[in-house]
Every structure is written in structure tokens, then in C-alpha cells.
């Protein structure tokens, strides 16, 4: 560590008075100017990041004739909800949402169960080949999904499941590969932190391994399960390429496909597209606000320790 520090030691310990001076130095005008610049930069940046959201909200309530107004109008003169209601009549948005919710729920339940089971074995049990198999989990995390796209398409079409939710849900029963590998990794990291003595004690009392998993480790893994559920939700809610390939008829479409379809209909106004886009991101954003701390925790666990 010490090699990283600049070698400017003066050969004597710094007297306390000097530290005091430098602390006072922070109150010089230059320091305040610095703070001001800092706040200005951060706020302007935040405004730039938030601008597309405001623009989307503003456009979504605009009547047709104001959408293209110049200079850009932030507050519509009359507020209309047409963009929110009309597309639901033009396209089966209700079933888009229903389909997406079904896919998301099945994925969350199935993946949480199968992934936590695997994570439990990897974190707390001994078996031959454990390290190699766990390495395979990590490798799966990094494989680009496009390579398996065509074989899987073939598989599902042979099984007659193309244009059903099968290809989008059945993999979750098998820990859902790419994204599932990530879930296994995340939960394994968490389960490693729970003391093993608990398992040993339960085993001595004659509990089966499944009971150790179900009654002891799983209830203590709440935070990791929460993070995994949120990630699965966001990932599946936003998924595009796979639904695009597997779902061919309107009534089976998911929300992102419905949005792309809406966008493709050029005669429709931007206010419709923006209103529906806004609706589609609302669930994810809401969940983020309610579970913000846990969500960020999850990203940090998976990122920094990976």
C-alpha cells in the first residue's frame, strides 16, 4: 500500500498546527467558488439527464397540434389524456401488459427457487466437481446470448412452442441460464456469509438438507432474494430480442413489442408513443423507488465483488 503514496515525507511528523491551518484554508473564497462550481456542474448534469423524462411527460399530455410547436413548449396549454387512452383501443395493450406480467411472475418464482437451490449447494455443501461447476456458472454469465439464439429457436419450434410464452418461461424452471447464472452467483455470495454452524446444528437434530435450505438458510437470505427478484423483474420487463423472435401474433406480444409496434405505426402522434412509453417504465421506476437501497446494494455486491 505504502508504495502507492506520494513519497514526499519530510522526515518528521506533521505538527498539528499545520493540519489546523490547512483545514482553515478550506474556508478561503477559492474553496467556496469551488463548491459553487461543483454544485453548478452536478445540477446542470442532472438537469440534462432528467430532460428527456420531462420532455416525455410534457409531450404525453399535449394535444396533437402542440407536439411540434417551436420554440419547444414545456407546459401544454390544454392537457389531454388521449395518448394514454387511445392506444389501448387501437392496439391490445391490455393483453400486452397481461402477457408481460405472466412472463415476469413465472420467471421470478421459478428462477428464485431453482437459483437459490443451486446457490445453496454451491455455498454450503461439499460435492465433487463443485469448483469446476461453479466456474461454468461464471462462464455462462459472460457468454453472449446470440450464439445460442438459433439452436434454441430450433429447439422451441421442434417442440411446437414458438409463439407461446414457453420459450420465455421454461428456461426459468432450469435456473434460466445467462441471467440466472448471475442470480446464482449473487445468492451464493450472500449465502456464504451465513454461519455454517446453523446447518451443522440442524443436521445434528436430524434435519434433511432440504429442510436446512428451506427452513434455515432461505429465510435468512431475504435481502439476496429481494435483489434477485428486482433484477429478474427489470430484466424480464424490459426484454426485447427474445420476445421479438418467439412471439409472432399481436395477442401474444409483450409491452416492449407493443411499444415498438406503436412506434412503427407512423400515422400515430408522438404524444401517444410518449404516453405509452411513460406507462411502460412506471412499474420499474416505482419498484426502484420503493426498494432503492436494496437495489443499489445488489448492483454493488454483484459489481465490486465480481
Amino acid at each position: 500500500m505504502t508504495s502507492m503514496l506520494p513519497k514526499v515525507s519530510r522526515g518528521r511528523p506533521t505538527p498539528a498546527s499545520e493540519i489546523r491551518t490547512s483545514r482553515w484554508a478550506r474556508l478561503r473564497p477559492g474553496h467556496w467558488l469551488g463548491r459553487l462550481l461543483l454544485y453548478a456542474t452536478v445540477l446542470i448534469g442532472a438537469a440534462a439527464f432528467a430532460l428527456p423524462f420531462f420532455w416525455m411527460i410534457s409531450t404525453s399530455f399535449k394535444p396533437e397540434n402542440e407536439v411540434f410547436a417551436y420554440p419547444p413548449q414545456w407546459i401544454p396549454s390544454t392537457i389531454t389524456f388521449e395518448g394514454y387512452t387511445e392506444p389501448w383501443r387501437a392496439l391490445p395493450f391490455a393483453s400486452f401488459y397481461q402477457n408481460t406480467i405472466v412472463i415476469v411472475v413465472i420467471n421470478i418464482v421459478a428462477r428464485l427457487f431453482t437459483c437459490s437451490l443451486a446457490a445453496f449447494a454451491f455455498a454450503r455443501m461439499r460435492f465433487r466437481g463443485r469448483n469446476i461447476l461453479f466456474l461454468l456458472v461464471l462462464v455462462t454469465m459472460m457468454l453472449p446470448g446470440q450464439v445460442t439464439l438459433i439452436p434454441l429457436y430450433r429447439l422451441w419450434s421442434e417442440l411446437g412452442l414458438v409463439n407461446t410464452i414457453g420459450p420465455l418461461t421454461i428456461p426459468a424452471l432450469f435456473a434460466g441460464q445467462g441471467a440466472g447464472a448471475f442470480t446464482i452467483f449473487l445468492m451464493r455470495q450472500y449465502m456464504m456469509t451465513i454461519p455454517v454452524d446453523l446447518d451443522d446444528a440442524a443436521k445434528l437434530d436430524g434435519a434433511s438438507w432440504f429442510r436446512v435450505y428451506w427452513n434455515i438458510v432461505l429465510p435468512m437470505s431475504g435481502p439476496a432474494l429481494g435483489v434477485a427478484a428486482i433484477f429478474t423483474f427489470t430484466g424480464e420487463w424490459n426484454a426485447f430480442l427474445e420476445p421479438l423472435i418467439y412471439l409472432s401474433s399481436f395477442e401474444n406480444y409483450t409491452v416492449p413489442l407493443g411499444l415498438a409496434l406503436l412506434n412503427g405505426q407512423r400515422r400515430l402522434s408522438y404524444s401517444w408513443t410518449m404516453a405509452q412509453t411513460l406507462l411502460s417504465i412506471l412499474p420499474v421506476v416505482t419498484i426502484f423507488f420503493f426498494a432503492q437501497r436494496r437495489y443499489i446494494q445488489g448492483i454493488v455486491i454483484s459489481g465490486v465483488k465480481g
Binding site: 500500500m1 502507492m4 503514496l5 506520494p6 514526499v8 515525507s9 519530510r10 448534469g45 442532472a46 439527464f49 432528467a50 430532460l51 428527456p52 409531450t59 420554440p71 419547444p72 431453482t114 437459483c115 437451490l117 443451486a118 445453496f120 455443501m125 460435492f127 463443485r130 461447476l133 455462462t140 459472460m142 457468454l143 453472449p144 446470440q146 450464439v147 439452436p151 434454441l152 429447439l155 428456461p171 424452471l173 432450469f174 435456473a175 441460464q177 446464482i184 438438507w209 435450505y213 420487463w237 424490459n238 426485447f240 430480442l241 416492449p256 411499444l259 415498438a260 412506434n263 408522438y270 408513443t273 412509453t277 411502460s280 417504465i281 420499474v284 421506476v285 426502484f288 459489481g303 465490486v304
Partner: protein
């Protein structure tokens, strides 16, 4: 094991609290040790039952599918009436396929711009937010929010913001007297537009950098300051080296993700104008799923493997480069 209380339990033959199989046990102990072994076998059996959903899935959906995909890349097939083994023909075809090289150039341009720019932007924001700021958690949320939005929704919002005549950006530019480019509608600006869009979603990187920065002990920075280092020296000699593992991780993830860009190119530009945003995944989608009128699954698989080879090589290069610039506190570096 502790209840035995004899020195024997502490011998090196006993590993991890379990009796090694070779331990010569005296007679009376034998049934007990056999029970242990069967416990061990029981544990293995259950472990394999627990990982079996994943393992079966891995064999079918990952390992099997990859092997099959490699096989398909040597065939010319639409899985229906045309099935012909063509050897390396699909790979040879790539060499002369101008569209393929176009897609490679587009993908490299996109990755070459996105990775450094989003690294700098995310790191910059993280450094600013790491100062003691009022509202810091609110600001963090604002910067992170776009990362939550689906690729399609991002594309739709930005398609409207970047609209050449009525879009927000060009209207704002017009207010200050600049005639904005045609963004997604022009060949030169289409890829930079996609890069701009991807920068909006850099929030996840920003959070990781922020976490990395908060993991740096303040004593180190204090020590450097007391030793007379200015803010710049402290930043480059203390903060940056300690942040390199996070930077490394982010860059690897960004490279892998950027090479696979698809959603925006599909929704916003359809690969156009004049194939200016034809990314590799977009191209393999077009070949494989019939946008050229034929389902060329063999050729599309070959393109997927080319993409995989590129991503794999870059990941390996990055991992190899670690020893030169990534500083691990644990001393992984020699």
C-alpha cells in the same frame, strides 16, 4: 468433531472438520466412520439434486445449444427444405460479404466510442457525487434512473428528442442559433447518436464507481494530503490506482455489452440509413430471421460465432492487460 477432545482430531489428517478417508481407525470406530462416509455421500447426492435444475439447463440451453450452433454454422439450412453441409463456406462467405464488414466496422465504431466515453462520464459523475453534497442521494437517483428504462423505451424517447426537424435537441440548438445535424437520419451522425443514447444509460457504471470510491479508506487520502500531495497528485496516485479494479470490471462489462448492441438499432434506425447503424447483432438477426427473404440459419450462426470470437478476444486481452494497470490491494499482482 470437537467432542472427541483427543489430540487425534487436531492432526493434519483431519481436514475441514471431517475425517479423511485414509485415517486408520481402530476397530470400534469403524461403524461410525462408515456412517460418516454415507453422510458424505448423502450430502453429495443432495447437492447434485439441488443443482440439477441448473445443470440440466446448462447442458441443454448453454453447452448443448453452443455445440449445436457451432455445427449449424457449417451447414446451409433453413431447418425446412434446405439442409446442406457446406463446411467452412459460411465463414468464407463472410470474407467477401461487404455488409458483414460494414456491420463489423459499425460495431467497432460504436464500442470504440461508447466504452471510453461512458467510462469517463460515469467516473466523472461518481467523483462529483462522492463530494459531500446536499441532495446527493436525490441526485444519484436522477443520474441512475435512465439505466432502468428498457432499450425500446429509451429508443422511443430519444427518437423523439433527436427528431431532425421537431426534436427537442435540434429545437434547443436552434434557440442558440445552431442548425443541428440530422442525427439518426444522417450517415455520419447515426452511430454518434446511438452512442449519445447509450451515455444516457450509464447510471449502473456510475453506481459501481461510486461504491468503489466509497470503499477507498479516507485515511489514505488524508495521509497523502498531510504528506504534502495536492488534490491532483492525491487523485492520480491514490484514488485512481485504488479504483482500477472497479474500472477494469466496468470496462469488461461495457465491452461485452457494447458489442451486442441491438435494441436501439432495431427500433430507431432499422440498421439505416444506408446500413450506417447495421450492428453485428442486427445483421445476424436480418440473416437469420428472414429480413432478406430467407432464413439463413447457418450463415447467421457463423456471424454469431464471429461476434463471440471478437468479444472473447477482447475480454482475454483486457484480462491479460490487468497486470499492467489494475492494482489489487490483496497483492494479486506480482
Amino acid at each position: 468433531m470437537g467432542h472427541l477432545g483427543t489430540p487425534f482430531t487436531a492432526s493434519p489428517l483431519v481436514k475441514g472438520g471431517r475425517v479423511a478417508k485414509t485415517t486408520p481407525y481402530p476397530g470400534p470406530e469403524e461403524p461410525r466412520s462408515r456412517r460418516r462416509l454415507s453422510q458424505r455421500a448423502n450430502e453429495e447426492l443432495w447437492a447434485y439434486i439441488f443443482i440439477s435444475p441448473w445443470l440440466i439447463g446448462f447442458v441443454i440451453f448453454t453447452a448443448g445449444a453452443m455445440t449445436y450452433s457451432l455445427g449449424v454454422s457449417f451447414w446451409e439450412t433453413n431447418f425446412l427444405n434446405r439442409n446442406e453441409f457446406v463446411g467452412l463456406a459460411n465463414y468464407e462467405r463472410m470474407i467477401d460479404d461487404e455488409l458483414f464488414w460494414k456491420s463489423v466496422r459499425v460495431t467497432f465504431l460504436y464500442t470504440g466510442l461508447t466504452v471510453p466515453l461512458s467510462t469517463m462520464l460515469a467516473l466523472g459523475i461518481a467523483l462529483l457525487l462522492n463530494q459531500k453534497l446536499k441532495l446527493s442521494s436525490f441526485l444519484r437517483t436522477i443520474y441512475y434512473l435512465p439505466a432502468l428504462v428498457s432499450g425500446v423505451a429509451v429508443a422511443l424517447v430519444w427518437g423523439w428528442v433527436l427528431d431532425e426537424t421537431d426534436g427537442l435537441l435540434n429545437n434547443l440548438l436552434l434557440l442558440v442559433g445552431v442548425n443541428g445535424p440530422r442525427w439518426l437520419g444522417s450517415e455520419e451522425w447515426a452511430v454518434p447518436s446511438l452512442v449519445l443514447i447509450s451515455l444516457w444509460g450509464t447510471g449502473t457504471n456510475m453506481l459501481l464507481y461510486l461504491a468503489g470510491l466509497q470503499g477507498i479508506p479516507t485515511e489514505l487520502k488524508e495521509a497523502a494530503r498531510i504528506d504534502g500531495a495536492g488534490p491532483f497528485r492525491t487523485f492520480f496516485n491514490v484514488t485512481v490506482p485504488l479504483l482500477t479494479p472497479t474500472i477494469f470490471f466496468n470496462v469488461v462489462l461495457n465491452v461485452i455489452g457494447s458489442f451486442q448492441v441491438f435494441d436501439q438499432a432495431f427500433v430507431l434506425t432499422g440498421g439505416g440509413p444506408n446500413n450506417a447503424t447495421l450492428t453485428m447483432v442486427k445483421y445476424l438477426y436480418q440473416r437469420g430471421f428472414g429480413e432478406y427473404g430467407e432464413f439463413e440459419f447457418g450463415y447467421a450462426s457463423a456471424i454469431a460465432w464471429a461476434l463471440f470470437a471478437i468479444i472473447f478476444s477482447f475480454t482475454i486481452i483486457l484480462i491479460r492487460s490487468q497486470s499492467r494497470w489494475v492494482h489489487y490491494e490483496g497483492g494479486l499482482r506480482q
